[in-house]
């Protein structure tokens, strides 16, 4: 019985994270249209909601072209890694409060280790390989340049993400996302309970997450005017779709992570408790999804408002300003 429940939970988490992707694609097109004073997709389904579905069907029927001199094995492996790594990341994140059943508590988190933040950091650092190997294996100068850019950008900004995780560890003294939310429910959300530091770290984490997800204004790896399509120039059909979906899943997971770390996750004072009945869990799910969608809206807002950075400015921003700031903030926080 328990095994069946757990399997249903895993399936639900998978469907949740895959179901958000088409919604995000639709949302991105609608928001970009809104910001640029256009209408956006409005032909397929109500409000164009079925547009992503039409896109998927189109991509599925496209011819799958493999470049003649590509390194076959790695060329096939890269999109797989690009999509699988973010899906694994989602397994560590609690997406709803515990449901107290008659005989045991049912956790809305796929795998609940004591040290899930550590595992999250670990799996996050594997994102480099999809772009580096994918860019190299295509045997195309533009892809290669995009891959190298992406690799060095991801490595640079990962340090800031790790610094923010370190801050969370210092502040809450725990490495488990679940305990993090429980403590935030007891002592107030991170962003308000430790005001100047938490806000600064939230901003740092947000900037680093933008760079880690290769979103504008940091989307140098796929800068169209310089690199055609970056590391996925040579990818077509379903392999391109996998890169694309992996990117959106990574965005979703990062927003989930931010809402858990800084905004109290599924907790909302007076409305959602950290454990309770089925209704409570549904409310919690709604709360965390609302937080995630607000963050995703900010992501898209930034993308369609700010121009792209130059590459040397991007690197200097990370190594000369953000990283020293992170280290100094951690030192000050540790001393206080």
């Amino acid at each position: 019985m328990n095994i069946v429940l757990e399997l249903v939970k895993v399936l639900f988490a998978f469907v949740l994270v895959m179901g958000i992707v088409p919604l995000l694609i639709w949302l991105e097109r609608k928001i970009s249209a809104w910001i640029q004073g256009r209408v956006g997709p409005n032909r397929v389904g109500p409000f164009g909601l079925l547009q992503p579905l039409a896109d998927v069907v189109k991509l599925l029927f496209k011819e799958d072209i493999v470049p003649t001199n590509a390194d076959k094995g790695m060329y096939f492996f890269a999109p797989l890694l690009a999509m699988v790594a973010p899906v694994i990341l989602f397994a560590f994140i609690p997406f709803g409060p515990d449901i107290v059943l008659a005989d045991y508590t049912f956790k809305l988190q796929v795998c609940d280790f004591g040290v899930s933040i550590l595992f999250f950091m670990a799996v996050l650092s594997t994102a480099v390989f999809a772009v580096a190997f994918g860019g190299w294996a295509s045997n195309n100068k533009y892809s290669l340049l995009g891959g190298i850019r992406a690799a060095s950008q991801l490595v640079s900004y990962e340090l800031i993400l790790s610094g923010s995780f370190l801050y969370i560890l210092l502040k809450w003294n725990t490495l488990s996302f679940r305990e993090l939310i429980e403590k935030q429910a007891a002592y107030g959300w991170t962003i308000v309970s430790d005001f100047p530091f938490s806000l600064l770290f939230f901003i740092l984490f947000f900037i680093a997450a933008l760079a880690e997800n290769k979103r504008a204004p940091f989307d140098l790896p796929e800068a169209e005017p310089e690199l055609v399509g970056g590391y996925h120039t040579e990818y077509s059909s379903m392999k391109f779709a996998m890169f694309f979906m992996g990117e959106y899943i990574a965005i979703t997971v990062m927003c989930f992570c931010m809402s858990v770390m800084f905004l109290g996750g599924y907790h909302f004072p007076g409305v959602v408790d950290v454990s309770g009945n089925f209704l409570n869990a549904l409310l919690g799910l709604a709360v965390i999804l609302a937080k995630v969608f607000i963050l995703i809206f900010i992501y898209m807002w930034i993308r369609w408002t700010l121009p792209r950075f130059r590459y040397d400015i991007l690197m200097r921003l990370s190594w000369h300003y953000l990283l020293p700031l992170t280290v100094i903030l951690i030192l000050v926080k540790a001393l206080i």
């Binding site: 390194d71 390989f129 060095s152």
Partner: protein, 170 residues
């Protein structure tokens, strides 16, 4: 044998075969980037084995440091020291029958030692995460190595920067 054990065995053999095949590719592949890619396979399968052996902190450290750190450094080194625009980066190896014979003898000796292991294996039923124990141990019993390591890391940081910097023209 219960279902759980059969499952564990299947996972173990899958990981072990991946590790074996990948390390064979590291040793014999004729393509530089493919070698690095195979090393990725070895590191991942070993991380999985650490997880199977309930060393959860080592699992995270392996992926964080080896995969996310050392392998990225190696890939950067490959990209900076080769003309990478070409997919067929050669990675020469000079194999001779002597080397193969010596390595085979070494393997035979190691396997012999492994098979004649004394029978004092006790089974460690650890179920709680190791990370807390390791953290306590680092700041109590192994404090001295820990501090020496931090000095070493500082030294290697300075040394690497000194070695890799551009020569100042006078």
């Amino acid at each position: 044998m219960s279902l759980n054990e059969i499952l564990l065995n299947i996972i173990f053999y899958a990981l072990a075969l991946t590790g074996l095949f990948s390390s064979f590719m590291v040793a014999t592949s004729t393509n530089m980037v493919r070698t690095a890619f195979s090393l990725l396979g070895v590191l991942f399968s070993f991380a999985g084995l650490y997880g199977l052996l309930r060393a959860d902190f080592l699992f995270a450290a392996q992926i964080l440091v080896y995969v996310g750190g050392i392998l990225v450094l190696i890939i950067f080194a490959i990209m900076l020291t080769h003309k990478i625009a070409n997919v067929n980066l050669s990675n020469e190896s000079t194999s001779s029958s002597t080397v193969i014979a010596v390595v085979c003898i070494l393997f035979a000796v190691l396997v012999f030692i492994a098979l004649t292991l004394p029978e004092y294996i006790k089974i460690n039923q650890r179920n709680k995460p190791l990370t807390e124990m390791i953290g306590n141990n680092l700041l109590s019993d192994s404090l001295l190595p820990f501090e020496i390591l931090s000095v070493l890391l500082l030294a290697c940081l300075i040394g690497a920067v000194y070695l890799a910097r551009k020569e100042v023209k006078e």
